[in-house]
């Protein structure tokens, strides 16, 4: 796939953000991932060309980071936190339940390309455990059933909205563009904080009223 003029100029704006061009390699990788759904060989070649480095150097970076995928992911990529705390609180059962429900192994994609699944590490939301992420949006306090309902809603093309995130779940490609630095205009949607984030504040206000 050759990149369009417009896509090439988006890449240039990413490079221009940094004092040195090579620093733009990560947003560029997120960006090529947003166009094809994964980091393609074309993408790696284009980035190498833009940054004037060898394709092997771009591949070396792309393969170091787990969020860059070298094969197509689902339109909805589901990550189940199975780091210790979430695993113990139910993450292991959620992952097993989803694999069974979808007939997938870890890193698998459904035949229709709609849903892919992987187990992920602690996603900085432990006070909302067990945590599931979809296209890197938060689905807090999940159960085996709520996670199955989530993927079912994805299959129907009407995914349940994230608990702390935009009003509607963006696609994998859309959120890859966001991670590349392209503002999608959804920042003001969703809650400012969930209940656990507010617990100390609430208790403190209650305490000072006494």
């Amino acid at each position: 796939m050759a990149y369009s003029k417009q896509e090439l100029s988006v890449m240039d704006t990413m490079i221009a953000r940094y004092p040195r061009p090579r620093s733009a390699i990560m947003p560029l990788l997120h960006y090529v991932q947003s166009l094809a759904g994964y980091v393609t060989n074309d993408g790696i070649e284009e980035i190498a060309l833009k940054l004037n480095i060898a394709t092997a150097e771009v591949s070396a970076v792309a393969t170091f980071y787990t969020q860059y995928k070298r094969k197509p992911m689902g339109e909805y990529h589901v990550g189940v936190c199975t780091n210790t705390l979430c695993a113990v609180m139910g993450g292991d059962e959620i992952l097993a339940g989803l694999k069974d429900h979808l007939g997938l192994e870890n890193d698998g994609v459904t035949a229709d390309g709609k849903i892919s699944i992987e187990h992920i590490e602690c996603n900085a939301a432990c006070d909302y455990a067990p945590v599931v992420m979809a296209n890197w949006e938060f689905y807090d306090n999940q159960t085996v059933q709520s996670a199955k309902d989530l993927v079912d809603s994805m299959r129907k093309g009407k995914p349940i909205a994230p608990t702390r995130g935009p009003d509607a779940l963006p696609t994998w490609k859309q959120n890859s563009a966001l991670l590349a630095g392209l503002n999608d205009g959804h920042a003001n949607e969703g809650v400012q904080a969930g209940e656990p984030s507010l617990l100390g504040l609430k208790l403190s206000k209650k305490g000072s009223k006494k």
Partner: protein
């Protein structure tokens, strides 16, 4: 009883708390305007006087770190905010950024001015789309308001802020690996010295600070060093975010003066989940040695936690009750370190691999009592011999759990496998029991 002290979290309960309008409603960006009228060195001195210590884990004095940046060297200086937050259990910076990204931006303006940097970066982990959105929008709004960019606050000072989004690698939280990643390479730690203050980003003087450290600065400028140092303990000053998670009635964030105890926080949180009792906990993420019921009254400040044999770390209080198998918990953390080891040095790359093999044998019922000594021996060869602190951290759960729960490891040998019912530790089990 220690009183809670919401400062960073004071306005998170307002629906629009993340907008620039809400931030300004509560005096936002006035501290930056005030700081930019001061001499940069006076700003550094004020932060030194406050006693603020880094909230990213190690507790290094923030003002002192800024003071290490050489002045008048005619070189570019950089500020890099570490928003990688990936240490298992740690969950304070992401809610802070989601609810109030502007307090970080204001802190960055002040810090950059103090260290004479014209470029500042936020390195945020990539797996948190909505946090990325909020930060992106906040930076754009701060530019539009004239608080970032050219001649900000009409002071003649120019500052660019760049949001850099990671792509899933715990090691990029280590400050020198973060800098390599930001330069466009694989994120692997660098040899120190030279320290980032001398040769950091692009080999230029660089300050790397945690989100919470920088976000604490505007309040210090606004209210003074004495206000801040009046909170906390003798050597651990100020308020901080404690994150409580796991088998508790109400998990969440508690902003309190340094030195509060787990007993006090648990009381506020309604205790360990109904019908269960505390078994083990981490004071500051999985890289800090485990604590037990014996440490409920340990003051959670840098000195108190060290004296009790662990580290304050990121104040990530992960609570596990008696239904949790400690061997399973430790195996899972060890698998994490093995997966996240960057592979640069042998003790960590090979050592974590062997630790996982042995723990899997124990969990699976094919381990022997001699395996415990093997685990400790391996840890001894990793601890202090690894290139960066990830390797050291990997040994913490193992050595501390064997210290406190040796019998439970042995039970896996005699029982030929795990004696626990893993379902009993899930939330679903407690929901059923409660119904």
């Amino acid at each position: 009883m220690t009183e809670l002290t919401p400062v960073l979290s004071a306005h998170w309960d307002e629906k629009d708390s993340f907008t620039i309008a809400a931030y300004k409603r509560h005096g936002g960006y006035k501290a930056a305007a005030k700081a930019l009228k001061m001499e940069p060195d006076a700003v550094i001195q004020l932060v030194k006087d406050s006693g603020l210590r880094g909230r990213g884990g190690a507790g290094f004095p923030t003002g002192m770190k800024w003071g290490f940046i050489p002045q008048g060297d005619n070189k570019d200086h950089y500020l890099v905010v570490n928003a990688d937050e990936s240490e298992p259990g740690t969950c304070k910076d992401m809610p802070l950024l989601m609810a109030n990204p502007h307090v970080l931006i204001e802190g960055m303006i002040i810090a950059s001015y103090a260290i004479r940097a014209k470029y500042a970066f936020v390195y945020v982990r990539g797996e948190v789309a909505h946090v990325v959105r909020r930060l992106q929008q906040a930076i754009e709004d701060a530019y539009a308001a004239g608080h970032v960019g050219k001649n900000i606050f009409k002071s003649g000072y120019d500052l660019e802020i760049v949001l850099h989004v990671g792509a899933g690698a715990y090691i990029c939280g280590e400050e020198t690996a973060l800098l390599d990643s930001l330069e466009g390479f694989r994120g692997q730690p660098r040899l120190r010295p030279p320290f980032p203050a001398i040769a950091g980003l692009y080999a230029r003087p660089t300050v790397v600070n945690n989100v919470e450290s920088i976000a604490s600065v505007p309040a210090i400028i606004a209210n003074g060093a004495e206000w801040f140092s009046a909170m906390g303990t003798e050597k651990s000053k100020g308020m901080t975010l404690y994150s409580l998670s796991g088998h508790v009635t109400n998990p969440g964030q508690f902003e309190a003066p340094l030195g509060i105890t787990l007993r006090e926080i648990l009381e506020l949180a309604g205790g360990v989940r109904e019908g269960h009792s505390l078994k083990f906990w981490t004071p500051g993420g999985s890289s800090t040695p485990l604590f037990t019921v014996d440490h409920l009254d340990t003051p959670l400040d840098y000195e108190g936690v060290s004296a009790a044999g662990s580290m304050l770390g990121t104040k990530a209080l992960q609570i596990f009750d008696e239904t949790t198998c400690v061997v399973r918990a430790v195996l899972r953390w060890t698998e994490f370190y093995k997966h996240e080891s960057c592979g640069k040095c042998t003790p960590c790359r090979e050592g974590t691999w062997w630790l996982v093999q042995i723990l899997r044998d124990l969990e699976g019922g094919t381990g022997t009592a001699a395996d415990l000594d093997k685990l400790l021996d391996l840890c001894d060869n990793i601890m202090g011999r690894s290139f960066c602190a990830l390797g050291d951290g990997a040994t913490s759960p193992i050595t501390s759990s064997i210290k406190y729960f040796r019998d439970e490891y042995i039970a896996h040998v005699t029982h030929k496998g795990c004696p626990f019912d893993s379902h009993a530790s899930t939330l679903f089990a407690s929901a059923k029991a409660g119904a």
